[in-house]
């Protein structure tokens, strides 16, 4: 009696595994898909080689003036020469270290906050929110510790963009949380309706009109002799506008907290602020972190609008740089430079929010 010996498995058909299998499955699975594949390849062929040719191969990188740009491709010399202006605006060059220091400090703090299980994290958080703004103010504006005052009209470029974005983000979040709580306060109808009116009003109008209002109407609102500087006025507009959006995001989180959590907090004898701060908000904010980051991204992109009321943010500085007769005709290079900077910031933020979403997504997941 011979023992049963299974014959070896047949290897899968050559066209269904490996590179060939992948190609067949993903690119040529049907006639229509094949046509689409060739169409996309043709599109890529039309787009990629000319862009690489223009931006990298035929480009000029170093030089002093437009004479250095003779290869017919992109003239990165323009960006190179104006680089410090794009970054710092009209900030006095001997004080660049102050801007650098302020933003390096911010970057270190943010990195420390983003790393999981970083020691003493909440102290760093408190320092970032309370101590850092004071340090940054004196570093950037000066006026104390022997630092010379740099008036805000000298601020510009990427530095101004970051100042607007960071202050906007830091201020709009707490205001937004308060507004969201107010909108959910059913036992206080007056506060509730005030919050609703505030939120819906700012969400219903475009940011430009808000900035117009901040720049032409705010001076009328104030008592005679009181005058805000332009940057502060723009900031007020941005914060009012973004806090309304933030409020709606936070409200989404508050609504997602089950009623049992409120009741449990109450039955433990916690008062309103205790239960809100210790039970509700930590859960609600965690739920809406992706939404908050998305609002940050929108705010970051929206800061470009300040150029309409005459502030020189990154886009405005670049825009004015190629109006210079010396560099006429290099608009594309300037725009590409600005686009890449914005893209890097926004894309990394959105990737971070996606990662968080996955990390915080502890429920059921089905595909």
């Amino acid at each position: 009696m011979t023992a049963y010996k299974p014959s070896p498995n047949l290897s899968p058909p050559i066209a269904s595994v490996g590179v060939l299998g992948w190609l067949r499955k993903n690119l040529f699975s049907s006639v229509f898909n094949t046509i689409l594949t060739f169409f996309s390849l043709y599109l890529l062929y039309l787009l990629i080689p000319p862009i690489v040719q223009w931006g990298l191969i035929n480009a000029d990188w170093v030089g002093e003036s437009r004479e250095a740009c003779s290869s017919g491709g992109a003239c990165w010399v323009f960006v190179n020469v104006r680089f410090s202006q794009f970054i710092y605006g009209f900030y006095p060059s001997e004080a660049y270290w102050r801007v650098n220091l302020a933003f390096i400090l911010l970057a270190l703090l943010v990195i420390a906050l983003l790393i999981d299980h970083f020691p003493k994290k909440h102290w760093i958080g408190i320092f970032t929110l309370v101590g850092y703004p004071i340090i940054a103010f004196y570093l950037l504006y000066g006026g104390a510790f022997g630092l010379e005052v740099v008036e805000t009209y000298q601020w510009g470029g990427l530095m101004l963009t970051l100042v607007l974005a960071v202050i906007g983000i830091v201020l709009s979040l707490p205001i937004g949380i308060l507004l969201a709580l107010g909108r959910r306060a059913d036992n206080m109808p007056i506060v509730k309706s005030l919050c609703i009116v505030f939120i819906e009003f700012w969400r219903g109008v475009p940011l430009i009109t808000v900035l117009f209002m901040a720049s032409v109407m705010l001076p009328l609102f104030l008592a005679e002799g009181v005058n805000f500087d332009k940057l502060l006025r723009a900031l007020i507009g941005i914060v009012l506008f973004e806090s309304a959006y933030m409020a709606e995001v936070v409200r989404g989180g508050l609504q997602a907290i089950p009623k049992g959590q409120y009741e449990a907090a109450e039955s433990l004898g916690l008062g309103y602020w205790q239960s809100t701060l210790l039970i509700i908000l930590p859960q609600a904010l965690k739920l809406v972190i992706p939404g908050i980051v998305n609002t940050f991204i929108a705010l970051f992109k929206d800061t470009t609008l300040v150029l309409i009321i005459g502030l020189f943010d990154l886009l405005a500085v670049v825009q004015s740089a190629f109006a210079d007769p010396e560099w006429l005709g290099y608009a594309v290079e300037g725009y590409v430079f600005v686009a890449v900077i914005y893209w890097l910031f926004c894309f990394s933020m959105s990737r971070y929010s996606q990662r968080l979403e996955e990390k915080l997504h502890t429920g059921h997941k089905r595909n």
Binding site: T209, L220, L222, T304, L305, A331, Y342
Partner: protein, 396 residues
């Protein structure tokens, strides 16, 4: 003894600041007083400042002569028109660019969103790249790019890019042939109306028959044939009363046809491309939100792939898609105010810009501008709430 215990048990009234209801009332009174004080302060200051600067108040300026021209007007307008006219021209231009932008952004966005879910790896990746690139670049930058870097680099009118001598593109704008309607053309419109009515009746009848007998009727194709065929036959029957006005180079510029100014083109391209990236993501997440079990159930019932899509997936996906889609439409309308940065004469540019500078009546002008956008927002959200109530999932 007993009386003593009784005395101890009588509930003591807590001080009023420990009573949540009293506290709520107190807090609201304080907030309200604060808000009122704030407004009183602001209004007082504003009135004082306006008087100091000699700026008149009220809406009388709307009847004054504006004295400036506008490069694109949908209604009769010239330098002698009033500021009220300026307002209307700006409003119509805003509505024009928003409506066209919504149309193009929807078409592009749905295409990209579906491409993002394609089985074809290359197409899906290309769509993803499109979304990630255009979503993360500020809109204003994109508008500037199209206007200053692309459209400004177009040739002069004499070297226009031409398509079959019908469509011309140059530095001054895009020139398209304009239809000239003949005398009896209104009959075609009537025919279209009749076809629309017939289609609606057909739809109800088909539904009725489906409920009664279970037989389906190809409503969509028949209605489509009706909608195109009836007006076209009418058009032929009354002797084709339609001619075209072609743009032609006369002197230094083109005359005739429809001229689309480059500001409008740039704004439209940028708004459509930018918003389409967001719409694509909405469409993708909407389709993905429909549980895969629904597809399996539909297959188990014997529905084919396209019927599954049309009858099962899309109706459920639309419920998820429509609310964020409307808010994107709203965003597009609000973003169209960036027109002012490149000089497209929208509401913000001609009214909150030029009119404000000329009259100095900041409060009235900004208030009117904001009121327009607020009205549009409120109208759309009312519509939205109505739709939401209609499609809300009826759960057990």
């Amino acid at each position: 003894m007993t009386t003593h215990v009784q005395e101890k048990l009588t509930p003591t009234k807590p001080p009023f600041w420990h009573d949540p209801r009293m506290r709520a009332i107190l807090f609201q009174v304080i907030v309200l007083a604060g808000v009122i004080a704030f407004f009183v302060y602001i209004i007082g200051n504003t009135l004082h400042n306006l008087e100091q600067r000699g700026i008149s108040t009220g809406f009388d300026f709307l009847f004054n002569e504006a004295g400036f021209g506008i490069i694109q007007t949908l209604i009769e307008y010239n330098e002698t028109s009033t500021y009220g006219h300026t307002f209307m021209v700006g409003l119509l231009n805003t509505l024009l660019v928003s409506a066209l932008g919504i149309l193009f952004a929807t078409m592009l966005g749905f295409t990209i969103g579906i491409a993002r879910l394609s089985q074809n790896w290359l197409i899906a990746k290309l769509a993803a790249a499109y979304i990630e690139i255009f979503r993360n670049i500020p809109l204003l930058l994109q508008i500037f790019f199209w206007y200053f870097a692309v459209l400004r680099a177009l040739p002069h009118p004499r070297q226009s890019w031409a398509l079959n001598d019908l469509v011309f593109l140059n530095l001054r704008g895009l020139y398209l042939p304009a239809p000239v309607f003949g005398q009896q053309f209104w009959l075609v419109g009537i025919a279209l109306g009749v076809a629309l009515g017939l289609s609606l009746i057909l739809k109800r009848w088909a539904k009725y028959r489906l409920d009664k007998t279970g037989q389906t009727f190809p409503v969509f194709s028949v209605a489509l044939a009706l909608l195109f065929g009836l007006p076209f036959l009418t058009f032929l029957a009354i002797g084709s009363p339609l001619s075209w006005d072609f743009p032609a180079l006369k002197g230094f510029n083109f005359r005739g046809g429809i001229a689309v100014i480059p500001e409008l083109t740039a704004l439209l391209i940028a708004l459509s491309i930018y918003t389409a990236a967001f719409i694509a993501e909405i469409v993708r997440s909407g389709i993905q939100s429909v549980n895969y079990g629904q597809t399996e159930a539909a297959y188990a019932l014997g529905l084919r792939k396209n019927k599954t899509l049309r009858l099962v997936i899309i109706p459920q996906a639309m419920r998820v898609i429509i609310p964020p889609l409307t808010s994107q439409y709203l965003n597009l309308t609000k973003n169209s105010s960036l027109a002012t940065a490149i000089g497209y004469p929208d509401l913000v540019a001609v009214f909150a810009g030029t009119t404000l500078n000329q009259t100095g009546q900041a409060v009235e002008v900004v208030a009117m501008t904001m009121a327009v956008y607020l009205t549009i927002s409120l109208l759309i959200s009312l519509l939205m709430n109505w739709y939401n109530r209609k499609v809300i999932l009826v759960e057990r």
